[in-house]
Each structure stands twice: as C-alpha cells, then as structure tokens.
Amino acid sequence: MSKTIAAIATGMTGAGIGIVRISGDHAIAVADKIFEAKSGIKLSDAKTHTIHYGHIVSDGQVLDEVLVSVMKGPHSYTGEDTAEINCHGGLFVVKKVLDAVLTHGAELAEPGEFTKRAFLNGKIDLSKAEAVMDLIASNSDFALKNSLKSLGGNVSNEIKGLREKILYEIAFIESALDDPEHFDLTGYPDDLKVKIQDIVTRIDKLISNAGSGKILKDGVSTVIVGKPNAGKSSFLNLLLGEDKAIVTDTAGTTRDIIEESVRLDDIVLNIIDTAGIRDTDDEIEKIGVDKARKYAADADLVLYMVDSSIPLDENDDDIIEMLHDKKTIVLLNKTDLETVTSKDDLRNILGDVYIINISAKENIGLDEFKDVVKTIFYNGDLNYNEDVIITNVRQINELRECLSSLKLVINSIDDGMPEDFYSIDLQNAYVHLGYIIGEEISDDVADEIFSKFCMGK
C-alpha cells in the first residue's frame, strides 16, 4: 500500500508542454476526479498504456485541454499505477493542474520520490537512479551526453582504475605487516609517494574538468558589461528573441540585475545583464554598478559591450581592469553607425581577444558570436570527447575528500611515519572513491541521491 503522490515531472522550465505525474494506488482514481474525457470513458475503466484526450476541470472550471496516459503497475516508471497529465497551457497552467490533483487526494511528491519508488519496486538500480536524475537536472545536450556516458560507465572505469591502484598499495602495506618475511618495505615510502602523486594528479584533473562539466551542465555563467546605453540589453533581447530587459534611450535604465538562460545549440549561457558602468552619484545606480563588478569577477565569461560610435573613456578603463584574466568576448556594437572606436583600437588595449562587430538593431554578428562561444568552450581548454567529466556535485565532493586523504598520506610519508599509518588515509581515499560508483555504501548516500534533485521524476 503506497500513498499516492504527484508532481510536475517536466521540471520548472518555460516549455510549452508540462506533465503532471501521479503515482500510487489511487493515481488513476485521483485523475478521474478532475478529468473529463472527450470519449466519456472513465480512466479507471481504461486499459493500461492508453492515452485519453479531454479536459481538466476543477471546481467547475476548465483548466486545460490535456492528454492523459494511463499506466498500470508494475509496468510503469515507478512500478505503481500511474497517470500522466500532458498539459499545454504553459507553466502557470501546469501548476494549476497540479494544485487540482493535490486537492483531490494526491500528496506532493518528495524530491526524487518517483525515482526512489522505481528503485524500490525493482525497476532501476541505484547507479541508474542517480544517472537518471542527473539527466533530468542537466541543462544542455552536452551534459546529457555526459550523463549518458556515466550510465555507460565512463566515470566508473576511471574511478575503478584509481581505486584498484589505491587498493594495491593498501594490500601491499598490509601484506608486509602480516608477512614481513616475504614483503619488504625498504624504500617503499618513496615509491608510494610517487604513485600517490600520480593519483593526485589524475584526481586533480577530474576535479578541474568537473568545473568544465559544471559549466556545460548548469550553463556558462556570463555577464554583459559596458558603459550605459552601449546596447547590452538590446543584445540580450536579440539573443532571447523577446523583450525582457527594459530598453530605453536614457542611459542607466537597467538597474536591476537581469538573468536569462540562452541556449546556443549545446551550450547554455546564463547571462546576467548589468547596469552600465560609469562613475555615478546616483545611489541606486551605484549599487547596480558595484554588483556588476562583483558578477564579472565570478563569471565564466564576460561579454564586453562597446559602443563603436563613441570614443573609449575612463569608464572603459574601469571595465578593462575587470576583464583581467577573464574569458572575454568584445562586442563592438552599433557598427551600423559611423565608427569612432575600431577593432584595432581595442586590440591595442586588450591584446589578443575575440572581437565581434555587431549591430543589435540590424541583427548583425549573432552567428559569429555563436561560433566564437563554441570555439571558446569546445576547442579551448576543454576536450570533452576524451576526458571523463564528473558533473555530479556529490561525486565531486567525494573526489575532493579522496584528494585530501591522499594528501594526508603524502604528509605521513614526509613526516617519516611508520608505514602502518598510511593505511588509515589510503583507506579513506579508497572509500570515498567507492561512494562515487556505489561500491561503498553509506547510510546517507541513498537518501542524498534521492533528495537533491528537482521535483520531477
């Protein structure tokens, strides 16, 4: 007997279609209470694995025109009776439909509860559960591919390899303790140090790639900076294809920070539009400017918007200072007007950076911009076809734990501790790697895996 749960299974995106999933013993009965089929059929009388067209009606009000799929346990994702309502009215309506479901006898699903039930009912194993939830949380095709790679064992193989190396050393030390006649530890600490340093290097690489992985899964954190009225907001609107930022001709209009996600094929840019940077006495605008500096400092990518129709001034100097050590694309705007500041002027100051001529107004330069972004993130320091990329926060944390244990082993070696002391930290390193691939069990891991993801699945 399981309680009936429901949630939006498609995540909180702006997608046109959203699915409300209901699972549990009364799932179909609950759906029946709010669903009026065009054919007049009751869902509880419907065969399993059928789809029904009709309306969701709550309190006498039609909420949406929907398709409802009926799947009876055990042949459903969760292994339980399941109804899925495919809504068409956008996020707001999907939420309304969920509310209706919840007021008619279902309880809101806990994070990851559908997958947890699927796991408990023997539909999927733990590692798949985690990979599935990664898939759902992933924001780009690249992240998707990477999650699929995890499912396929790319991460496992790398981690298993490292684990074997550590286990060998543990076993060697233990053998030498048990059978000193046949296992000699003379000179071993120095050998071990070299081996551990090699493992440290490999884990360091996994962790730094994990950063790139995160960029591709969660999106590139991007900031647009530039003087007031350089055209930052217009450019963002151009990318978004809609008018989100307030755009006026008065300099300094954008005072709040606006964040938007833009998908450029495989790459998601999370773009923060900032107040224009200029020396200002306006208190409110000042706060905006300070924020812009801060965001730029944290960003993975900075887009520097330059108005080519006016000369560079001391405000540009402030901005250029912010670009130090940052991945930057300079957008030379208003190239449809007469050019005062040229690419060469900027190169003289900034050195070798990407500079693109654009006209937000005339829709020029957008394709070049996309190409440059891809060049930076695909051909730059990231080679995602060969490297194993760990994108999962839990896994990255375990890698970090492993790394600090290995560093403690090196400390022990440097401090001249007897060999039997190495085992404690080697063992910890081994266990933390084990947590990543589920070869070590901790009480919390299962719960953690099931609780951290979106409400969906």
Binding site: G122, S175, D178, D420, F421, I441, A446
Partner: protein
C-alpha cells in the same frame, strides 16, 4: 551409534558442559565456573589439558592483541603464559604502536601444567576424562540413546538439554560449548603414512560429528599441520643467528606485576632454507598427500607448509626457519616455518639441507592433520549455533587456527553460555572494539574456505585497537559480565580519567617563546619555537615526549597531586609502572592525535551501519531487486545488521543499498 552405552545409569545435572580442554575449552569452562555455574569440562585426556600441539609460543603479530584483550575481559591465557614463558619479545617496535605485538616462548609442559592447576583449583568446575559422543536436544528422546532415527532439518529450532558420553553417561545441562579442536574424525598424514588419531597420537573423537549432523548442524573438513621436532644435541646452533628476548619484558596480563617477569630468558635461533631444500621438496611433491590429492581438507594460506611456500613463492631463494625450544626440561626443538606433510624420508633429507640442521635427528616427524569443523554461517555473533538454543562453539571447531584465536572464542562462548543461563544479554564485541570482535565477525560472516588466522590486516581500526590499551577498551565488558572485580575495574576507570585529563591539558596549555623554554628545547636538540606553542605540539616532535617536557610543565606536579596516583598503586602495580603506563598512553594519544581522530571518524561511519538492525523475521523474498545470490546468502546468514550484511561475500553494495532503502520504507509504513 553405540549399544554399549545403554546400560549406564549415570545421570547428572549440571549447568554447562564444555567439550574439550584445549585453549578454547579451558577459557570457556573457567568463565562459566567463575560466573557461578556448575560446569563440567570433558577431555579425551586429562594429561593433555591446554596442550600446545604445534608452536611453542603464545602471541605474535595480532595474536598478541587477542591475548591482551582476553586478559582484559577476565580470561586466563595471559596470566598462564606470564607464569610459564621462557622468552618474550615485543614485535614490530620499529613500526607504529598499533602493530606492536607481544610474543612469548612457552615452556609447553609448564604451560599445560599451570593451566591444569588453575582449572583444578576452580570452584564449580569438574574435569571429566571421556569422549562426548552425542548432543541431546529437546527433539530427542532422552531415553533413546541410539539417535539412529534422528534426522532433523537445519531449519528446526531446538534447545540443548544435555550430552551423552561414550560410556553412556548422560549429563543434562542448560548449555553446551563445543571446543573439539582438531579432534573430530581426525586423521594425521605423513606422506603415505596415515593414522586416524588426533594431534600427538591422541585419541580422535569419532562420534559427535554424526550426532551434530543428525541435529541439522552442517560440518566440513579443514586441515592444518606442524613441523618436526629435533633433538637439540643434533643441532649446530653456531651456524644460526641467535635471537634474544627483550631486555625489558612486558607481561601479557594487565594483572601481572611487570617486575615479576624480568627473568633469565632462553634464545631462539634463525636459519634459512636454500636451493637444495627447495630442490628436494620439488622433486618429491608427488609424494605429498596434498599435491597427490589425498588430503580433502583445506589448509591455511597464512600458515603454509614449507612445500606450499616453495610452490607459491617460487622465486624466493630462501625462507626463514626458526628453531625454538619446546621447554626448559626437554631437548626437543621446534622447527618453525617448516611444517610439512611429506613422507618422513623426504622430511629428513629436506631438514638436513638447512644450515645447522645438517646432522639433525628427528624426535617427532612433521605431519598434517585433517578434522571436521563447523560451517560458519550457522553461528550467531554470540557464538551460539543458530538453530540449537544453548549450543555454543569455539576454537578450531569454528574454523579458526591458533591457540590465541581459540582461547579468545572460548572465553566469549563461555561468557555467552553463562549469560544465557543467567538471563542476560550476550557479549558481542564489534570490529571497532576489539580484535576479538574482528575475529568472531569474520568467522560468522565470511564464508572462510580455510582455517582462519588472526592478522593485523584484518582489523580496520587497529590504531584504536592497540595491545597497550586493551584494558581501557575492554575491562568494562569484563566487569559487566562479572569476570573482572570492582577494584580492578575502578583502577582502570581512574587511569582513563587521568589520561584524558592530561591529554586535554597538553592540548590546552601553551608555553611562550621565553628563555627557559628555548633553553630547554636547545638541551633536547629541538628547534626553538617562534610563538606560543601548546605542549601537544611539542610532544608531537619526534625528539620530545610527554615525559621529557616535564621540565617546562610547571603545573604537572600540582596536577598529579590532585590525581592521587598512589591510589592506583598496589602489590602488582608499583608507582613507577603505573606512571610508565599512563605516560605511554598520553604520548600515543597526543602524538597520533590526528590519525586517531580520523580513525574514530571511520568508526562512526561503521557504527552507523552496525546500528541499522535488520529485523530477525525479515522476509528477504519481499525485498525487491535483490540479486538471487545475495538473496540466498542473506537467507542463509540472516545478518543482524546492515553492517554485517555488507560483509557477507556475495552480497554486493548495490544489494545493501536496496536493503537499506527497503528497511527505510518499512519504517515509514
């Protein structure tokens, strides 16, 4: 079985029957008797009580820990070896304190005699020479001694009610502890020569196997072996390296006065095998009963015969051979490292290739011995057999090897037999508390395919399970069960308080970089400090320790007055020895603080899994997605906790997570 038994009308009622008087049997019988239970100990030969049929020593790497732990719990082995050792050594002193381990050479005959004396003086304990042939449960007809019709399935719950001897006497009892060692259907092999006897030509026990099987207990066959003994007069010791005992001997028992064990010690000798030895062995492997396939039992990997070593370490040019005296009043010497089941003529030829043994004369030949023992999945962690209430077992019968492993189990099985009769909870030590915990958990959880030997590597948390702190770890349990008296336990508590208080003081108290301190450091060839520094930091320097910094620890004298150390002093514990012990503990706890903390973290994670109990009546068929092998193993072992489940071979981590989440969902329902 035996028609001859029917007419015997001897019928006695006791509390506990202990079958066997080896190292396990002695501890079990003593524990029960000391806890006030009427106890009978059966042996096939009273003259062989606490016999050491193999090596003439007690302790050694990790085995020494077992003896110290057993002593802290109130066992006898430590005290007995302290009375009868003839050489003693702390092993691995060049390594960390976790792997320091005591080993003492015993005078075998004295060891046996001293133990017998203890047993014979023990109230409530009767020694009885006769072979126990049957166990009797509530499923038997007490009057029908034949048991011929009996065939009880292993799933049927029974309750032990007594035992029957070969002569037909019946001892009704509330608990039985089987400590039959290597005697069950024993068979000794020396090449083609096979005798159906126990060790040293003693009588084998040939009947109880069948009775156990009829009661649904599953047995299997293991093998072990022992090397030859040589006549000292034929050994050329000048060609070997002399091995001395320690200048300052540490006793095994926490109750022994360290001043009493500073005796004149004998030496052992080290020599090596060589190419010639190995050639002879290789040329005659076909005559070895193991390699010829005559031996059915599985032998221990970690205590291998010389022919095993030559085969497995083929690239090794030589192996160590230790010559150890069997006692002060015999000229027999044990040839450690060269046990063998090769025929006698090959043995002699092989021994004679070893430097110093060129003209050796064998007193006893080497042999292998095969015996019946228990399939371990039938044991609870309390060492009670799962399907027969009140039937406990210990020692080699449980598939272990070694005197110390046997004694440790004997003590626990004896304690738990007593606890059951007294209506108390069993004593179960976990892996983070004692090597004994590791030993028993391994025995009852892992499907060991060979005799189990204790080893340092088996203990995950060994930095906490040191031989030096066994009393601090375990006196409490000994006291709880009633084997450790109040006075002993209280001094242990006091000692712990002082150690804790001093350790914190070392971390909390700092000294400034003043002249006195710098001069002190200079005098110890230790680098000057730059800023105010805690005593703990100074103690962590290799050239300093707790004792040596006393010159700059102004409060120490005052603080010690408040500790009232003199209350810890008694006839066996002089002030000097008490302080030495406390200083040692403080040093270890301060110097290795970081490691100890990390190990304690590991223990927390471990305990968390151990504390996730699995209901005894859990139906594993209800748990979805368990793999078939895991399901079968879990049903067979019925682990008490998630932790134990995770250690069963054949149960994967994925299966354990399934189990965890399933248990979670049970809780929520």
């Amino acid at each position: 079985m035996s028609d001859i038994t029917r007419k015997n009308t001897i019928r006695e009622k006791v509390d506990v029957c202990v079958i066997g008087a080896g190292h396990a049997g002695c501890e079990a019988a003593l524990a029960c008797a000391r806890l006030g239970l009427d106890t009978v100990m059966f042996t096939v030969s009273v003259d062989s009580i606490a016999l050491m049929p193999c090596n003439p020593n007690v302790g050694g790497s990790s085995k020494g820990h077992l003896v110290r732990e057993l002593d802290a719990l109130g066992g006898e082995m430590g005290k007995n070896i302290d009375k009868t050792f003839i050489q003693s050594k702390m092993l691995n002193v060049s390594k960390g304190p976790a792997v320091h381990s005591l080993r003492a050479q015993a005078d075998k005959a004295e060891y046996s005699r001293a133990m017998r004396k203890v047993l014979e003086k023990q109230d409530n304990l009767t020694i009885r020479q006769c072979e126990v042939c049957e166990i009797i449960t509530d499923a038997d007809n007490l009057e029908d001694s034949s048991q011929s019709e009996l065939n009880i399935n292993s799933n049927v719950k029974q309750r032990i009610v007594g035992v029957r001897t070969f002569t037909g006497a019946v001892y009704e009892c509330k608990a039985v502890v089987i400590c039959s060692g290597t005697y069950l259907k024993a068979r000794c092999l020396c090449g083609e020569a096979i005798t159906y006897t126990g060790p040293n030509g003693l009588m084998a026990a040939n009947y109880i196997t069948e009775s156990l099987e009829k009661h649904g207990v599953k047995l299997r066959r293991f093998k072990t072996g022992t090397p030859a003994r040589m006549d000292a007069r034929s050994i050329d010791f000048d060609k070997m390296e002399e091995q001395f005992g320690d200048k300052k001997v540490v006793p095994f028992s926490f109750s022994t006065n360290p001043d009493d064990v500073q005796i004149d010690q004998v030496s052992c000798y080290l020599t090596y095998t060589n190419e010639k030895t190995h050639e002879i062995i290789k040329a005659n492997l076909d005559r070895s009963p193991i390699y010829a396939g005559i031996i059915e039992g599985t032998g221990p990997r970690y205590c291998p015969s010389i022919e095993d070593k030559v085969v497995k370490f083929a690239d090794k040019e030589r192996h160590q051979v230790f010559l150890e005296p069997e006692g002060l009043h015999t000229s027999e010497w044990y040839v450690g490292g060269m046990s063998s089941s090769l025929p006698e003529d090959v043995q002699l030829a092989m021994y004679r290739t070893v430097p110093g043994l060129e003209h050796c004369k064998m007193v006893r030949n080497a042999y292998a011995i095969e015996y019946d023992c228990l399939c371990p999945m039938q044991l609870k962690p309390s060492l009670e057999i799962k399907n027969i209430d009140g039937l406990f077992s210990a020692g080699q019968f449980n598939g272990s090897s070694g005197y110390e492993e046997a004694a440790a189990q004997g003590l626990i099985a004896g304690i738990n037999a007593a606890m059951q009769i007294l209506g108390k909870e069993p004593l179960v030590l976990d892996r983070s508390e004692a090597y004994i915990g590791v030993l028993i958990d391994d025995l009852v959880t892992k499907d060991n395919r060979e005799p189990y030997r204790m080893m340092t590597s088996r203990a995950e948390y060994r930095l906490l399970l040191r031989q030096d702190n066994a009393d601090l770890r375990l006196r409490k349990y000994g006291h709880d069960v009633g084997l450790v008296d109040d006075a002993t336990y209280n001094r242990c508590l006091r000692k712990q308080e002082i150690i804790d208080s001093e350790v914190s003081r070392m971390f909390e108290t700092t000294v400034g970089a003043g002249k006195t301190v710098q001069e002190f450091l200079a005098s110890k060839e230790s680098a000057p400090i730059k800023k105010s520094t805690s005593f703990a930091e100074l103690i962590c320097r290799p050239e300093l320790d707790y004792e040596s910094i006393k010159d700059i620890d102004r409060e120490r004298e005052e603080v010690y007055k408040s500790y009232k150390i003199e209350e810890l002093v008694d006839v066996n514990h002089s002030l000097t020895n008490v302080l030495l012990d406390i200083y040692n503990q403080i040093n270890i706890n301060v110097k290795y603080d970081g490691y100890i903390k990390r190990q304690k973290q590991q223990v927390l994670a471990f305990k968390k899994m151990e504390s996730r109990h699995i209901p005894e009546d859990l139906n594993y068929d209800d748990v979805p997605s368990l793999r078939l092998e895991a399901r079968q193993k879990l049903i067979a072992f019925r682990p008490v906790s998630i932790g134990q489940a995770s250690r069963i071979s054949g149960v994967s981590p994925a299966d354990v997570s399934v189990l965890l989440i399933y248990l979670d969902s049970l809780l929520k329902k």
